[in-house]
Structures are given as structure tokens and as C-alpha cells.
Subunit: 134 residues, 2 copies
């Protein structure tokens, strides 16, 4: 658990270890879920620290972040994959993409899909120079 932190030049603190544990134990938690996990395990943790740690981990490439209806969720998997979210219960599942085929079809899956959003993030042509020294 600590190896991953150490390998990315991040200090090993009890809080960070617990956040990593939460990310492994939970499915796509948001900050609130990570905090609840830590508190259940009697680990000292504050809201600000949860956000700090998650952002550090994201910047280090250890987790990916996604925005889902006003909440920022995190996922410890770093290989490329997609997600599906239930608009009734809010549950988020991983979804494997099949190269060369349609991304998803309702009849290929027990899920009923009625919306999708794919967002890439990066630097637009105009900002590529600017961002390097900004």
C-alpha cells in the first residue's frame, strides 16, 4: 500500500494509507464515502485532508477522478475503462469497452441506458504553450 506512495515521491502518512485502503475497498467513492470509511476504522481524518489526499493521488496518476451529478468520484483503477451509473440508486459500475464494436447497446446489457457522456481532458491548441510555464 505504501509502495505506491513512495514510488511517486509522496510522504507516507496514516491518512494517505487509509484513503488508499478506502479506494480499494469501495466502488468509486466520493470524498464523503472515503471519510466515512476512515471514520468507521477509527482513523483520524478530516474533510480537508480527504480532498487534499485525493487530489494528490490524482495528480500523481494513482487514481482517476470523474464528475457525476455534482460529486467528484475517484477510482483506483488506472487502466482505460468506462463507467455506468444508475440514475435511480446512484450506483457506479465499471464497464469494459469492446474495441471495434459499438460502445454499448441496451440489448447487450441488463442495464437500460438513456444517457452517455464522454469527456476527454487535456490542453487545447491555444493553451499548450501557456500551460507549460503557467
Amino acid at each position: 500500500m505504501e509502495d505506491a506512495l513512495h514510488a511517486h515521491g509522496l510522504r507516507i502518512t496514516p491518512q494517505r494509507v487509509v484513503v488508499l485502503e478506502a479506494l480499494r475497498a469501495l466502488s468509486h467513492p466520493d470524498a464523503e464515502a472515503v471519510l466515512a470509511y476512515a471514520q468507521n476504522r477509527q482513523a483520524a481524518m478530516s474533510v480537508a485532508t480527504v480532498y487534499n489526499v485525493l487530489e494528490k493521488l490524482r495528480a500523481a496518476g494513482l487514481v482517476i477522478a470523474m464528475d457525476v451529478r455534482g460529486r467528484r468520484c475517484f477510482d483506483i483503477r488506472t487502466d482505460s475503462h468506462d463507467h455506468v451509473r444508475c440514475r435511480h440508486c446512484g450506483r457506479v459500475d465499471d464497464m469494459v469497452r469492446h474495441p471495434g464494436t459499438r460502445l454499448i447497446a441496451p440489448d447487450q446489457s441488463p442495464w437500460v441506458i438513456d444517457d452517455q457522456s464522454l469527456i476527454w481532458e487535456g490542453l487545447c491548441p491555444a493553451c499548450q504553450g501557456e500551460a507549460q510555464h503557467g
Copy 2:
């Protein structure tokens, strides 16, 4: 402009017409941008109304919504397409998907991509019965 509202059983109000205008004039605006557009055109509009109208339009299928770094953005296009967002300036562009090929490659585009998130939304198996009468 009003046709679309009428066709979906939505009452035609000045506010709704202006929101539709804003969605056509702007690229992927959020609520704040729509409000600013309306106010520039001297149209009466309150924050709550912007959110109400956008949600009505989304529920009617006239626009799609996407969550981008804590903000909910809207897009009047309803055919399936993707988006790319600059992490420096926040600009969001449409991105056409090429069936049968990789979704995107950095060297195929002047954008530098370092993150992607694809989220489908729908009903998970457990909720399909429940949601119909809930």
C-alpha cells in the same frame, strides 16, 4: 425555436425561448453562462428559472447535460457525440467519434489529452422495476 417546446408539451414562455437561444448561441454553457446571455439581451430571468428550464429541457430530451469539474453544462445537440475540455482554459469542444477506430490519439489531434471519462447513465438491473413506478 418554439416548435421544439410545443412538440414536447412544454409551455412556451419568454424565459424558455431565451434559454434555447442561449444554447444555440453558446458552446456548452453552464447555468451561469445562460443567465448572463439572457441578461445581456435584457430578458427577465432568475437563477432558479435557468435551472428549472434546463432540467425541463433535459428531461424532454431537447438537450444533454454533462458534469465537468463541479459544473453542469448543457448542449443542444442530441445526436451522439463526445466532448473535449481544456484543463487550462476550461473550453469545451465537440469531438466526433470515428466508428471502428480508436476513440482518440494524441497524435491525431492538436489537443494534448491526458484524461478521459466516459459515463453512461441509465438504470441498473436492480432498479429497473422500481423506477418505473417510482
